[in-house]
């Protein structure tokens, strides 16, 4: 938004160069989107692996395991999916330059993300199978763990962005950090929806 402001030092350079400098700030979002597309292929590979294992393995569930409890993960899903809307509102507040509104909604997103991680930890500790219990155990912990790592990364990024919102002039060069964190959060959310359908709904 405010990235169109031109530094006095830059104004000595030619018009072409100013356009060039301007482009460089936008490149980060382009690069980040490319990175996310690439990252999604890892999840895609895990999903394909999961589908192959689930459709070809004879004894899918380990002995004594009847299936996965659906209630808590469903609540978790609702919380994570809603947090995607909450972070959208946080961004809206930032656009309107209402910093405290941004911080409130941003913090709420973080709380919801942390609740998701907590719920995941509770679920893990209550399960009677481990990562070495056949392909079911392996893929379950691999997928939820790898996704959980991304949620954790998202919450940490959000924490950094929250801290940086207190630095004066933090948004003079645009809101790349916030926009990228938000995009990452939506990405993590979409991955979870696929994962939830594959692991919990398709039993």
């Amino acid at each position: 938004m405010s990235s169109t402001e031109v530094d006095p030092v830059v104004s000595q350079q030619t018009a072409v160069e100013v356009a060039h400098e301007h482009e460089e700030t936008d490149n980060r979002m382009f690069g980040f989107i490319i990175f996310l597309l690439s990252e999604s292929v890892i999840f895609l590979s895990f999903f394909v692996g999961y589908i192959v294992y689930k459709t070809t393995t004879l004894d899918w569930l380990p002995a004594g395991v009847t299936g996965l409890e659906l209630r808590e993960p469903a609540i978790n899903t609702v919380v994570l999916v809603s947090s995607s809307f909450v972070i959208y509102f946080a961004e809206r507040y930032l656009h309107r330059e209402n910093l405290w509104g941004f911080r409130a909604f941003w913090l709420l997103t973080m709380a919801m993300g942390s609740y998701f991680l907590y719920g995941q930890a509770v679920e893990w500790s209550s399960l009677e199978f481990g990562i070495t219990d056949g392909l079911f155990g392996g893929t379950f912990y691999l997928l939820t763990g790898f996704h959980g790592l991304h949620v954790l990364t998202g919450v940490i990024l959000q924490l950094i962005m929250l801290g940086r919102s207190f630095i004066p002039g933090n948004y003079d060069n645009g809101e790349f950090g916030v926009a990228a964190t938000s995009l990452f959060w939506h990405f993590v959310d979409v991955i979870w929806i696929v994962l939830f359908l594959l692991i919990y709904i398709w039993q």
């Binding site: 980060r28 690439s38 392996g138 060069n173």
Partner: protein
């Protein structure tokens, strides 16, 4: 942020063309030209390391008996030879060329993310050390081959947690992270940082080829990462993913592995196609034949590369319909490739050919690539592939690609752009000696592998039936010749860089933005960004390439 960046920029602009100190190559420089050379030199060091491993292998194979090294050492040698040559030589050296040339060719001051660029480079020596460190691990380095197929790769005879296979996986994972960083950077640079007037269809073919190759990295490498993570868990935690004893599926690893590692061949060969497309017009003094078709065919190769991987698995219990499908898609890839070969031949045809070292290597590379292409079509056919599967025929085929085309192409590029990179001319006589030794050595080394494979000699063996001795002796002699061929090259590069004749801006009378600036180009490349006004490869035409050629380097003229 902006203030800091601009200050740095203006500081650097105050001291362009300052005597280039060699020390900067050992620093965390963010200049794409420094990083490019760092990549190239580091990669070449590992090329020599991988070459020494190859010498050990060929030394063992000069006699039918396993008498030179222990079999476990031999297994480690062929595993590390493949791994080093791919992950520490071809990928980094091509990253280096892309790093050096792409910003100059599209008229940008640097890569889109200079610091990310430096981080990506410095990971190369790190995973190089991790991989070499596996010599110190209990049980020695990985012995599972560069494919790391389970269940062989899961055996872990030493029982230690930190074993050779573990370090191998760690090194490959780090290499993957570094490559993804590089790919994000290069694609962003090409899409977003082109100079005014540099439309996509005015980009040199090398830039097209690099972009295509990096797109493959972006969609392919994550699949290998996924497989590698699962293999690592099998190895360390005891999960069941690929372990047949625990109900796992080792074939699935092969799918993950080849979904990336076959397209990886195009990551390697596409920039080489780009180099050929740059060099032939210069040394034949003719525009590149069929520019647009050559550019588009790179993207066609990218698309097809995603649907051919199962041809590595014809003998892995693959069902008949799948064999048919992948046989067809694999053969299809020879169409865009063939288009390029025809374009190069048509470019050279009737041209005023100058046989410099660079041109010799490019022509030699092209000849060997065509040979590899023919054996490639043979291998694409399932009945033929089943017959020669896992024999030396396959080894011969891919060495014609990876050495014959790729290494020769890299040499061609290094000679061609050496004056630009160093500001010095290389010694032409030594360059031609290097070419003769390399071309003879390579063919002597890799041609005999074809009859050996057809006769049924399996790959990855330390001892063999005495009936195979004749061709093996010839191959080994070729390998030692190839080893020696690097000596005139090293002498030439080091000697010329230290005390070669000063190079002019454009010693080859080539057309391209990189040849409009000084040799070597100053930090940030351009004082004023070039404004591109015509298509590339305007040989025999009088159109200027850029409208402001004289203004590109104001500062350069001052000093």
């Amino acid at each position: 942020m902006t203030n800091v960046l601009v200050d740095e920029t203006s500081n650097n602009l105050n001291q362009p063309g300052e005597p280039e100190s060699w020390r900067r190559f050992f620093t965390f420089s963010t200049d794409h030209k420094v990083i490019g050379i760092q990549y190239i030199v580091t990669a070449f060091f590992f090329f020599l390391v991988g070459g020494i491993f190859a010498m050990v292998i060929r030394g063992e194979l000069i006699t039918p008996e396993a008498d030179l090294v222990d079999r476990t050492v031999y297994n480690a040698m062929f595993t590390l030879h493949g791994t080093v040559m791919l992950f520490l030589w071809t990928f980094p050296v091509l990253s280096g060329l892309a790093n050096y040339l792409v910003p100059l060719m599209i008229g940008a001051r640097d890569m889109a993310f200079p610091r990310l660029n430096a981080v990506a480079f410095w990971m190369v020596p790190v995973f190089g050390i991790v991989l070499m460190g596996s010599f110190l691990a209990p049980g020695g380095p990985s012995q599972a081959g560069w494919w790391a197929y389970p269940p062989v790769s899961l055996q872990n005879p030493s029982g230690a947690l930190i074993n050779g296979q573990f370090l191998w996986l760690l090194a490959v994972a780090l290499s993957g992270v570094s490559s993804i960083m590089g790919a994000v950077n290069i694609v962003t640079t090409i899409v977003r940082m082109r100079a005014p007037g540099m439309t996509f269809f005015r980009m040199p073919i090398f830039v097209w080829a690099v972009m295509s190759a990096q797109i493959i990295q972006l969609f392919g490498l994550p699949a290998l990462t996924a497989g590698a993570v699962m293999l690592l868990f099998d190895l360390t935690l005891g999960t069941a993913f690929f372990d047949p004893i625990k109900g796992g599926d080792p074939i699935l690893f092969q799918h993950f592995f080849w979904f990336y590692s076959h397209p990886a061949v195009y990551v390697i060969i596409l920039p080489i196609f780009g180099i050929f497309s740059e060099l032939f017009p210069v040394y034949a003094r003719k525009p590149l034949f069929g520019y647009k078709v050559v550019a588009i065919s790179s993207l066609v190769i990218v698309a097809l590369s995603a649907v051919v991987w199962v041809h590595h698995m014809f003998a892995s219990g693959t069902p008949g319909w799948m064999r048919m499908l992948f046989m067809f898609s694999t053969m299809l890839i020879s169409v865009p490739t063939g288009i390029k070969v025809f374009a190069w031949v048509a470019t050279i045809w009737g041209g005023k050919i100058r046989l410099t070292s660079a041109m010799l290597f490019a022509l030699g590379g092209l000849v060997m690539f065509v040979f590899a292409g023919i054996t490639g079509i043979m291998l694409a056919s399932a009945p033929m592939d089943i017959h020669v599967n896992n024999t030396y025929f396959v080894v011969g085929h891919f060495h014609y690609v990876i050495f014959g085309a790729t290494v020769m192409g890299v040499y061609a590029a290094l000679y061609h752009w050496f004056p630009k990179m160093t500001g010095r001319m290389y010694n032409e006589g030594l360059g031609q000696l290097h070419f003769v030794l390399t071309f003879i050595g390579a063919n002597l080394n890799f041609f005999p592998m074809h009859p050996l494979g057809l006769e049924g000699m399996p790959r990855r063996v330390a001892s063999y039936d005495p009936e195979f001795a004749f061709w093996n002796v010839i191959a080994s002699i070729g390998a030692f010749l190839l080893g020696m061929s690097t000596l005139p090259f090293i002498l030439n590069m080091v000697g010329s860089w230290v005390q070669g004749e000063k190079a002019p801006d454009n010693p080859w009378r080539a057309i391209g933005i990189e040849w409009l600036v000084s040799s070597p180009p100053t930090h940030e490349n351009f004082e004023v960004l070039p404004i591109v006004v015509s298509d590339p490869y305007g040989y025999g035409k009088s159109d200027p390439l850029v409208s402001n050629a004289d203004a590109l380097e104001v500062a350069h003229e001052q000093h």
